[in-house]
């Protein structure tokens, strides 16, 4: 019997130099491989992780990738079609709608 499909929400607020990046990437990859839905929200310094290989490949595997537009602007991250750039309302919805929510700060 297969596992029930669940929604995993992840928040990443640290930059590419922090080990959180690898943790979030592997956790996301594993969850996707098991058939779960992954919603990743990058905020603050985490917006700088958008172009890292660890994060950039996740949408092609089915992850839904959101980036804090305010944080991206502050960090000088270009706003384009690589991800959904949005506000905290989306994070609020993720927190409400996901079965599990983990913050990596």
């Amino acid at each position: 019997m297969g596992e029930t499909r669940r929604k995993l929400g992840l928040l990443l607020s640290t930059g590419p130099e922090h080990p959180n990046l690898e943790t979030v990437s592997r956790l996301s990859t594993t969850a996707l491989a098991k058939g779960h839905d992954v919603y990743l929200y990058l905020i603050d310094e985490g917006t700088r992780c958008l172009d890292t290989p660890q994060i950039a490949h996740l949408p092609t595997h089915g992850a839904k990738l959101f980036v804090c537009a305010f944080g991206a602007q502050k960090m000088g991250v270009p706003i384009d079609s690589r991800a959904t750039f949005c506000g905290l309302v989306v994070l609020s919805d993720l927190i409400a709608g996901c079965d599990r929510f983990l913050a990596f700060n």
Partner: protein, 117 residues
């Protein structure tokens, strides 16, 4: 979607990093919808509520977001009691609820979601 009780625990030093200010902005954003937000300040993060915050690395966020967040918090900001030692609470314009680590543990146990900055 279900409303959640979100606990935002801030431990960073606002005199050294802007991250506590980002936590404040996020707490305000998350609490402006249906969720209930509680904020706990530990250690150096307590400085956010005192006049020196005007000189901190997140002075802009403190000025823009802290008053609105304070209005939304019931009963106020939870602050680790040991972080208040040597401080005069009358110097803060915010409602402060001193708490000990066991109280923080209880708050965490009651919350549905945690964001630790």
């Amino acid at each position: 979607m279900a409303a959640r009780h979100i606990l935002v625990l801030v431990t960073g030093d606002p005199m050294k990093t802007a991250r506590p200010g980002e936590a404040i902005r996020m707490a305000l954003g998350l609490g402006s919808g249906t969720h209930r937000v509680s904020v706990v300040l530990r250690g150096p993060a307590a400085a956010l509520l005192f006049p020196e915050a005007e000189e901190s690395a997140c002075a802009d966020e403190v000025e823009k977001y802290l008053p609105s967040l304070a209005e939304a918090l019931d009963p106020g900001f939870y602050v680790e009691r040991s972080a208040l030692e040597g401080r005069d609470l009358a110097e803060s314009e915010f409602r402060i609820v001193p708490v000990d680590p066991p109280d923080i543990a209880k708050l965490m146990a009651r919350a549905d979601r945690f964001v630790i900055f």
